[in-house]
Amino acid sequence: MAIDMHTLVDRARGLVSRRIMADEEIYRLELERIFNRCWLFLAHESQLAKPGQFVTTWMGDEPVIVTRDSHGQVHAMINSCRHRGNSVCRAEAGRTSSFMCTYHGWTYGLDGQLVGVPGYEERYHGDLDRRQWGLIPVSQVASYKGLIFGTFDPQAPPLEEYLGDARWALDYILDQRSGGTEVVGGVFKWLINSNWKLSADNVMGDNYHGAITHRSATTVGHQTLSRIERRNNGRGDDLPAGPGVRPGFSAPLGWGHGFMCDLQPPGDHSFMEHPEPLRSYYRETLPELERRLGPMRARVKKINLTLFPHASFTTSSNMLHVWHPRGPTQTEVWLYVIVDKDAPDEVKQLLRQSAQRHFSPSGMFEQDDMDNWELSTQAAGRTISRNYPLHYGMGLGHEGWEDDGVVSRQINAINDESNQRAFYYGWDDFISSGNWDALRRKRAAWESGQPVAEGAALGG
């Protein structure tokens, strides 16, 4: 059955069609209009510290090699020989001077150029323009404060424009100290049978599920390293006992980005909720943070950020989850731990252990998310259920927008689903917009607080 792509996100009521969580046709469209156009996280520069180092990753359904060449330049290209299409690299990471296809031996340099063709003279008679037959390049590659991104779209705006106001949160994660950041060795990788969007929208905005989904972990006294002081509400979780809001703000941004930011009360820099040596580290580095990023970010306890489409940061334990789609109903999760390069080893160890114990596949928190997402995904594919939309309407119409915030679109509360709605509005904008001019207009309209009414009503 043909699907009307204009009826998937109902902005007036905050409803999202379940079909987008399981439908094959919509998934193909996501690959073309989202993953082949957006800037996607590729690697952290510390993974490519030396010339010749490489990592392999995914951009949508395309396998990509990311390298640093002998001049220090970073390159990204599709891992597929131009002769017959075989992969030219089968390792996840390593160090090399070139990539040779194991089929016939076409060989490519670290910049993707075709540098070796067996039988070039004898069999091709020199009649092959090797400059035209390099690996398919990622159209644009750029770094933002240690994170390497790429896009397949030559028309995509510069990376900084793409990131927009999300940089306020990214800078907090990446730029607290002059030495920058690095990733801890080892990337967690695992497969879950759920749609990638359910995970991406969860991290950036779901301040609702913790008290139920993660109740077992908090009940046994397991706490994240977030800078939220635990309220004594008898359950040990991080929601207020009664009505009220967490001190902080939500930033539901344009193009599907968004973040939640918890704040300390002004003047409170005790960090008492942290174990040592983290507490001392945060206290000692606070002046540097404030000098570099200003007083507002010196008050940050915790940020949850999703960069559209699929890179989610959680500053409790300094994690980056990337939700690689492996089909409409499967996601390959990659988890990185990002630490300040100049932090003492004990601090790095604490953050690493915390990430592993909370949010790796064995994590006390993470393990309880998975069935929720898998069973939600299964329901999205069923013939009756899929006609009943998902409710993302919490707080719609009661947001309390702030005009004088630190970012363009801000609510001084963390108690609704505004961020998730922004994610699906951005999703809808990418799915329905043919070019970046249209996308720019939609982002400007959203961030000015006068979004163009779009999307038809959904049933249910």
């Binding site: 060795g185 695992w190 989904t213 077992s216 009940t219 592993q356 114990r357 596949p361």
Partner: protein, 169 residues
């Protein structure tokens, strides 16, 4: 030649442990560990031949498990909270322990034991997981009983084909 009696004793100990896990007697399982126990499972990655040294993460890098006994106890306590959704309904596991080799320390109070394992998990109606790999245990005799002082778990998969690791290996 390895002491046949010791070999038998060690194998029976490992089979007992497997039974305790499969029968979900997790408090009993905790008692099998020494107070200073360390339970560790590195991440494995696909590497080119010649780069095998980097196949597993090191102890100062990321790992699936890097637990002391209090952390293991917290994982066990989580099962009984009434809210431990990854294990409610509980997984059905079957631990197969084979190829038991005593590496060194025979005749002392601490012996290094290597074995292969297959752990099958069946969950809800049709979920299935298979974890296969090698374990390196340091067993210590405490009050006449073998106890696990160190466990290193080396999984054969690089991308984990499981939604989570809420079972013990």
């Amino acid at each position: 030649m390895v002491d046949v009696q010791l070999q038998h004793e060690v194998e029976q100990f490992l089979y007992q442990e497997a039974e305790i896990l499969d029968h979900r007697r997790f408090q009993e399982w905790l008692d099998l560990f020494t107070e200073d126990a360390h339970y560790w499972m590195p991440i494995r990655s696909t590497r080119a031949r010649g780069d095998e040294a980097n196949e597993f993460t090191r102890e100062d890098e990321n790992s699936y498990f890097d637990d002391d006994k209090p952390m293991l106890a917290r994982r066990v306590a989580k099962f009984d909270t009434g809210f431990s959704w990854a294990e409610d309904p509980p997984s059905r596991t079957r631990h197969m322990v084979t190829n038991v080799r005593i590496r060194n320390g025979a005749g002392t109070n601490e012996i290094a034991v290597v074995c292969n394992f297959i752990v099958y998990r069946s969950r809800m109606a049709t979920d299935e997981d298979l974890w296969i790999g090698e374990r390196e245990d340091l067993l210590r005799k405490v009050d006449g009983q073998w106890r696990i002082a160190r466990r290193k778990i080396f999984l054969d998969q690089t991308v984990l084909r499981s939604k989570n690791l809420s079972s013990f290996l």
